[in-house]
């Protein structure tokens, strides 16, 4: 299967917008044109490659192939979120574990409750949303845990000096971190449909599915993303605060990483 010429023409036409953005960058000396072009070309190549890969996997519909793809997606998400966790020891492992936990729990529930079937066509796009969302939550929460622990080190050490263990000393500040990770998805759930139509729903409507059918799926997607955010957020908080304490409940600062 190849991309038909008319589709290719549409893509090239849309690329005019990227060129316009690059020109604006050049004109305003934003020094972003190279990045804009590189990102756009990269997106083109990545998406074309994934399009072919998915076609292959959908046709094969082999559970092991699905699991392999999910593992690759989770690993990339863990690596990416881990890069954002600068200042948190073992941030890559923390991110990988937290994202895996949130994604497995969410996807497992969806399959177990019979909401989606374990077929490549259903699971892989859904997993993309769940894992991608978990990755964002993990980055946000890990960064916030780091900022809270650094910013509140005085209070944390005061609590430790009074006989609190690491968990007790960090706890009041972890709530704020979890809150920051959950807020974007809660906010977007509150305003869904009022400000913008979500990507999945937009895609379905453009593909000719009736709006009522599209919203049914979108409702499930929003609920699923809230679940994934809370599972991943909790796991991230739970795993990342520990990276700041020794087994003797001493706060590690400036020595992390």
């Amino acid at each position: 299967m190849t991309i038909p010429p008319e589709a290719l023409f549409r893509i090239v036409a849309a690329f005019v917008l990227v060129l316009a953005a690059a020109l604006v960058s050049r004109w305003q000396t934003l020094d972003l044109e190279k990045q804009i072009i590189t990102a756009s070309v990269r997106a083109f190549l990545q998406l074309i490659a994934i399009g072919y890969a998915l076609t292959f996997v959908f046709e094969a519909d082999n559970p092991f192939a699905i699991l392999l793809i999910l593992a690759i997606m989770t690993t990339i998400a863990g690596y990416t979120a881990g890069q954002r966790g600068d200042g948190v020891r073992h941030s890559g492992y923390v991110a990988l574990a937290a994202i895996s936990f949130g994604s497995i729990l969410t996807l497992g529930s969806l399959v177990l409750f019979g909401i989606f079937n374990f077929t490549a066509q259903q699971i892989i796009p859904i997993a993309g949303m769940v894992i991608g969302n978990s990755m964002n939550v993990c980055s946000l929460v890990m960064g916030r845990v780091r900022d809270e622990v650094n910013g509140r080190s005085g209070e944390i050490e005061a609590a430790l000096a009074l006989g609190a263990n690491g968990r007790q000393a960090a706890r009041p500040h972890l709530r704020a971190a979890l809150h920051s990770g959950m807020t974007p998805i809660v906010d977007s759930t509150k305003t869904v449909g009022l400000i913008q139509l979500p990507g999945a729903m937009t895609g379905m409507i453009l593909a000719g599915i009736s709006p009522l059918e599209a919203v049914q799926l979108q409702i499930i997607v929003m609920y699923m993303l809230i679940g994934a955010a809370s599972f991943t957020g909790l796991a991230t908080v739970w795993l990342s605060y520990r990276q700041f304490f020794t087994p003797h409940h001493q706060l590690l600062l400036g020595e992390s990483k």
Binding site: G154, A158, L162, A164
Partner: protein, 216 residues
């Protein structure tokens, strides 16, 4: 001879590749008030942190009541050896929340009467219990920090420049309080300060720490 309350034996510490303490040997007897002085960066805070095990000392270098520190339960140790910091670092909430923190950790909340007793010990009026911490002056906040540490019934208090940000009147007030606590509770005090000239009337001894070593 009585077992020393605190003792270090050739305590050396390296942090981030830099020696911070070098063969520090100090002995502090029960109910002594000892001042720890020396230039900034000389190792005073590092020594105090080792004595409360906020920083890990090497094994067989710190002894509390004759017991090797790293063999003790760290939580119990910190309740026994309290610490008050330069910045009181109070927790959000009111004065009673702070004073009752240690007891709350052990799931044995303090009675209102016990909180008032602790406030009195730190020379704070009883009606301060429900005052939000945002409404306290620097001196008052430091007293709440002191009452919070006293709530654990420690044998020893490590004071890391608790009066450095306070005005002379507040400093005098804290000195009087500490002196009273030693008299009434037999507390052992190791006090880091830059105001050594004000301390002579209440202290037993001075230890000078310079470049991580004890001088004189």
């Amino acid at each position: 001879m009585e077992t020393p309350r605190l003792q270090t034996h050739n305590l050396s510490l390296v942090r981030n590749g830099r020696p911070v303490l070098h063969d520090v040997n100090i002995t502090i007897q029960p109910a002594e008030i000892v001042c720890l002085i020396g230039p900034s960066g000389g190792g005073k805070s590092s020594l105090l942190r080792c004595l409360n095990r906020l920083t890990e000392p090497p094994p067989n270098t710190v002894f509390i009541n004759g017991k090797e520190m790293t063999t003790m339960d760290v939580i119990a140790l910190r309740q026994q050896v309290g610490m008050v910091f330069q910045s009181p670092a109070l927790f959000s909430g009111n004065v009673a929340d702070n004073v009752g923190y240690g007891a709350m950790l052990r799931k044995r909340p303090l009675s209102p009467a016990a909180i008032i007793d602790l406030l009195k010990m730190a020379d704070l009026p009883a009606d301060y219990a429900h005052r939000p911490i945002t409404e306290l002056s620097g001196g008052e906040a430091q007293r709440v920090g002191l009452a919070r540490a006293l709530a654990n019934k420690p044998q020893t208090l490590l004071l890391d420049e608790p009066t450095s940000a306070l005005d002379p009147d507040s400093r005098l007030h804290i000195r009087q309080t500490i002196s009273k606590l030693r008299r009434e509770l037999g507390l052992t005090i190791l006090w880091v300060t830059h105001h050594i000239d004000e301390m002579h009337e209440i202290i037993d001894r001075v230890i000078v720490l310079e470049n991580g070593q004890v001088n004189g």
